[in-house]
Symmetry: C2
Amino acid sequence: MKASKFTFATLKETPSDADIVSSQLMVRAGLIRKLASGLYVWMPMGLRVLRHVERIVREEMNRINAQELLMPVTQPAELWQESGRWDDYGAELLRFKDRHQRDFVLGPTHEEVITDIARNELKSYKQLPVSYYQIQTKFRDEIRPRFGVMRAREFTMKDAYSFHIDKESLAETYQDMYDAYSRIFSRLGLNFRAVQADTGSIGGFASHEFHVLADSGEDDIAFSSESDFAANVELAEAICTATRPAPSQARTDVDTVNMPTCEEVAKHLGIALEQTVKTLIVKGAHSEENPDAPKLVALILRGDHTLNEIKAEKIADVATPLEMASEEAMKEAGLIKGYISADLSSYGIPVYADRAAAALADFVSGANIEHKHTTGMNWERDAALAGVVDIRNVVDGDPSPDGKGVINIKRGIEVGHVFQLGDKYSDALGCRVLGKEGKPVTLMMGCYGIGVSRIIAAAIEQNHDEQGIIWADTPDPADNIAPFYVAIVPMRSKDGSAEAKAEELYQTLKDKGVNVLLDDRDERPGVKFADLELIGIPHRIVVSERNLAEGKYEYVKRGIDGKQMLSLDEVLAKF
Amino acid sequence: MKASKFTFATLKETPSDADIVSSQLMVRAGLIRKLASGLYVWMPMGLRVLRHVERIVREEMNRINAQELLMPVTQPAELWQESGRWDDYGAELLRFKDRHQRDFVLGPTHEEVITDIARNELKSYKQLPVSYYQIQTKFRDEIRPRFGVMRAREFTMKDAYSFHIDKESLAETYQDMYDAYSRIFSRLGLNFRAVQADTGSIGGFASHEFHVLADSGEDDIAFSSESDFAANVELAEAICTATRPAPSQARTDVDTVNMPTCEEVAKHLGIALEQTVKTLIVKGAHSEENPDAPKLVALILRGDHTLNEIKAEKIADVATPLEMASEEAMKEAGLIKGYISADLSSYGIPVYADRAAAALADFVSGANIEHKHTTGMNWERDAALAGVVDIRNVVDGDPSPDGKGVINIKRGIEVGHVFQLGDKYSDALGCRVLGKEGKPVTLMMGCYGIGVSRIIAAAIEQNHDEQGIIWADTPDPADNIAPFYVAIVPMRSKDGSAEAKAEELYQTLKDKGVNVLLDDRDERPGVKFADLELIGIPHRIVVSERNLAEGKYEYVKRGIDGKQMLSLDEVLAKF
């Protein structure tokens, strides 16, 4: 491509409404333009990047025999009513009426549509397993679109769906998808982690998120310093290797006036925060259907730990979704907020201690008396336990759950998600085939998403500098997602020799299939260099009359300081 | 691709709701599935066809330096309000509100968005001309979606837009686009015509439609038997080469009881229909602003001709849009419906005669007396003329307007449209750049659309038979849009030799880059052959033990009767 025939839409100024570095750089480099809140135009420069990513995703989907199709963006409401999500899905689901007042949605995802197709097309177990995917425009009506294309309303997704006669087949395809995703992000040259994720409200069997690591990420990921273990902090198991020492102190109430927090108490008593516990009162699972369950439940954590709500919800006595008890309910139960004791035996409230809290001896808890705490507390001797549970978030330095190394926590940007859905949709929509025994079998389903446009923002979050974008090196240079892989810049020459040689080199590289740009714009070299660095072109070759006299070309690798003077053969050898 | 790893979704039965042969065949061949009225899923088989078409369109757009970008499907209402189309565009424009009650549309076209981009990005005439295009999902809320993907609500379009400093530059790019479109449809192997089209309400300068010729087309196209001339019948000029003979008959009223039509009168009098005229009364351009214009206007056509409303609207005395006068208004003016005379001099109604009607002598018109006509009518002697005009539709056999040959009328399916928009949108949205003289200049615009998904239906309308789809041969076999170009069918063999040879041939062709399918499905040969014919795979090679013994392969070309027995070399030479 010749730059003179191509739209460069670089900006010197950082746009005031771009709230994250990738968004700023994408707009400044002319990859995208904002049309309205959460709606972006992919400019020619940006679309080249998007297409590179699409190609790699497509190749890896095809490699595992997933079949590409294309479903409509608009979907009839009936299917969403059948699945129940017409009511369950929040305001992110954009609903509209057509001219005949029929209800439709703009698809944020396509489980309903693909299940409708599957129930019509699939008749026999012999047709299974089968995987379909599409690369397509999705819409999610975000309440506050932000972070550029990272959390836009309209975006490009690769969504795949698989259908199976049983769980074993689902697990196999799940693994294929997991491997394909790993290959995709590896080919893109991204520093990423596949992490165990919560199967959440969809209620499937297994789920992994793929995160690109970047300080600006929205998610915390726990991973081992010495193994492949990685999990969303929400899900990572907190191991406790300590065993509880025997009691050595007597139980004693002490004054702690206006000190409702563990930090204040530890400081006041001159002890480590780790020697204190906090007692959280949450709603119990008590209901008309479940009259034996408690109305309130105490959750006890070490003073330095924080509650993991997803884990806590797994305790049968605890109400789902997790909800803190109201001040009124606590008062009614005789509890003194900020000073609640770990000893609740006389209150009829079951006490669940986190593993780390349960391993303490001679600890400090509230006294359940205003302005008083108790020192020298010991489990069993002073406080009864209904259970020892894992209910805290892991922290840096915790032992890795797989026993290898310790946990490090880093921030990540979710760019992919694989999910064993089970039969949630196939059951709701009656997606069945004849099984081996000749009887109808409800299919097992998996779903697998990649945020194609999001990947680009995540890649930039991970790799950039003051000058602009740095596109990661990829194992195969042909996989580099930079809009152009090489830029050739001719310096104006009196005899036209630099321009001619630049054109010659351009043709040579083009004929070799290299994604090359000839920057023949009528601009000063400084402007061109700044643009090329902002856009992040990985390789830059400057052709000047002076250097040509010595048979040399000036070569610069983006992100690496310094110029190299190379012969033509050395230049060509690089590509 | 191996058929065992690919979804064949062929149907024996014609779907009851498919109202046109292309739609029936696309569903039966498993290219598409209907999700809801006007919404279709492109199944894996169909998506391959769609991608082939997209690739050819993209290559030809890139060839003329049009730059690909991608605009959102959802568009903010503000832009449509700015252009005036928020009010002007009919109910096909799907409007919706987001969760914040802001107005949006689902884009049926992108003039507003691209003009918004252009007014922000373009600053100087030096950046011009520039052309942008996208291949993207469009939405049009058809009141009655029909003809499968031909008139769907959601469909794939290539839409391009060009920006220019003046009309000359616009005309140049228009010609480039025209040529690119011609190359696209030629490469696709389609029988098509570029026809002059009406610039209609958008009010641009020039416009051509590209039509694929097919008996089932919705449009009538007039083209010359001996030249390149082609025009939409709405627009084709009706030439009259005859000169009016001198009067030879006396004006005579005759009885024509209950004969209000020319056909009845001609039959009754035993004369040719061509010797009669019909007088149509339409509303005149009279209004408060135009008090001198007539309230009613008479349009006179030869009995065998039909009125062309678009042409008639160009008469200044005629109201726009054209409207027939009400019976009341005619009564009030003293006119007798069905028996109106060509002589209206005493009624104050101007008479405009079509060129062919004006060339008649001794003709028959109504007598303006109930149940009476007048024979021996002659212009000037018996009836005054306000003007001689071209207001009829051309018919087969009319002289071609360019003087070469005669007009043939065929039906066509519009698959492309190029349009010189002028400054309609750039003016409304204030899209200006600094011109050569340093003053702001409002840009000239062109817009250019291709119905990518529609092309496929049109191609099938043009080429099919009882067995199914026939994909047209293309000048370059690599451009063939069939989902697969060659199918290899192994016949079950005792020693596995046929299967092995088929696999070998498959690999050989695949390595040569041929788009080949190995039909290794566990089905009877008859089922496979029927499927392959229905889908329209152009080349079929059957590998059987018996033929292999003689070193032969059975070869069949889709759409051509008869089998050929070929050696391996002869087979390979075909691809």
